[in-house]
Symmetry: C2
Subunit: 290 residues, 2 copies
């Protein structure tokens, strides 16, 4: 059972690194794992995994029920405190609630982490369980409105790794060609908001606005629905307004977004075709090639 | 700086226990801590705290910004997964949303942990920030409707430690005498729901229903507002109905709550005065002695 031993390669792992490996094994759709499953997923020797599982149960980071282990209330409490202390989330929360109440749709607060977006907050009602997002969950950035809104206002050092990592088709509408993706980001800069019409999940439509002042985006706010893409066009201004309000709540009115003509950052868009489009509808017609 | 060293007393702490102490230091209202503050709060030697902080930053369980540390996105992700995997929360979520939407008030899902309640979920709108609760947060069980609803349908082995731990006054309306508290739990059993009229926080009113079949409570569902106690009387049946729906979602209709006359469990209520009260209004008049 120790054939997966990672201890035999490279420098020995610290107990904390091993504990992180064990806990990562629970970052899966399966809530309960046996010792054998933890060994398989973590690559740790069985004796080591067993000892660490015991210690994690003592800390209440895991709970044991018979032969099964699952994430415990201690981990829920620490994670909830991490969310509670997150300055961005705290500043955004009342505005996200207001956006949800005014639109009736599912609202997300999202940050970019490498090539993925992570949902810091998700505010929805009983009808929004069809959208496969959750707080702390991840999605590839390239196929979400939330990710495109951030990437469009990011340096090439963040955008290029996303493209290099691969624009794999998730639905027939996913943008998979690098030049098309760069063109899409240019259109997001043009419009100020990003749309996702079933690029990540069939039946899921989103609109996202970057959280930014005059420069790079630090996060995005998005509204999702299913099958309501005309509705999303209508509420795009509200999403933009929400993003501006959150920015001001964090940095004060002195750093509010400047007029749109001034706010387009000097990003590496040279060579990207930017078709002339004067209003949202013409953009939407153009985007039908997706 | 090592005068607080806990390593010199008792068996040496494992690295994981030390890491838990460091992380616990962040379970406070203050989001950012310096090394010195972590040393003070954790009781660990400075060198040990520094080494562990470094390792926690590597795992992204903490983030470092200049001289400050704060809980990181890795911890948020693990905690969010713990919440996502929680079977009770998953079963309850659509019903909690429906209860929030039908009442317009803040909704909680709560479990008992020792003498405290822990909020597993909190569903509210932009107007509910006045209620000082948060997911993963704790409150003393005795002064919350959520706690009383669980304790009323719990064994004496859970109730007596709460009383022994002390019924400290939080507001002028907190129930602080043990015999009064036992009487209150008897009234909760009688009514099937618990009320909190500013017993924990001034201006906060709640109603809670236990999550149970015919036996002990495993959790509670509560609705809170501020200054709307007539409203809470009106929606008590909806809270009870929500609790029944969640119970059925978890265990199936076969284990639904039996008729109320049958469902009163054989709890140690002997000797507790149970004033005759036929309806909620008479109970509310009686409760005015609080």
């Amino acid at each position: 059972m120790t054939t997966h031993a990672v201890e035999s390669e490279g420098p020995p792992l610290s107990l904390l690194e091993k504990a992180a490996k064990v806990l990562s094994a629970f970052q899966t759709a399966q809530p309960r794992l046996t010792l054998t499953e933890v060994v398989q997923r973590s690559g740790l020797p069985r004796s080591s995994a067993h000892r660490i599982l015991d210690q994690l149960v003592q800390q209440r980071w895991l709970e044991r029920e018979g032969r099964d282990y699952r994430l415990g209330i201690g981990m829920l409490e620490l994670g909830a405190m991490a969310a509670h202390h997150n300055r961005l989330r705290r500043a955004a929360l009342p505005h996200l609630h207001a956006l949800h109440e005014s639109t009736g749709h599912l609202v997300h607060l999202t940050v970019l982490d490498g090539t993925e977006v992570v949902y810091l907050e998700r505010i929805g009602g009983s009808h929004d369980h069809g959208v496969p997002s959750r707080v702390g969950g991840r999605q590839p950035a390239y196929c979400t409105a939330a990710g495109k809104a951030i990437l469009a206002f990011s340096d090439a050092t963040l955008v290029e790794p996303v493209i290099r990592h691969g624009l794999r088709p998730r639905t027939p509408r996913t943008i998979t060609r690098p030049e098309s993706f760069r063109g899409e980001l240019a259109r997001v800069r043009e419009r100020g908001v990003a749309f996702d019409y079933e690029e990540g999940f069939q039946g899921v439509f989103c609109v996202a606005a970057p959280l930014r002042g005059a420069g790079r985006a630090i996060a995005s706010i998005s509204v999702c629905g299913n099958g309501a893409h005309r509705e999303l066009e209508r509420i795009a201004p509200a999403v933009l307004g929400c993003a501006r309000s959150v920015w001001q709540a964090m940095f004060g009115p002195g750093r509010r977004t400047r007029k749109r003509t001034e706010s387009t950052p000097p990003l590496p868009t040279a060579g990207v075709p930017q078709p002339a489009m004067d209003n949202m509808m013409s953009w939407l017609r153009f985007s039908e090639w997706m």
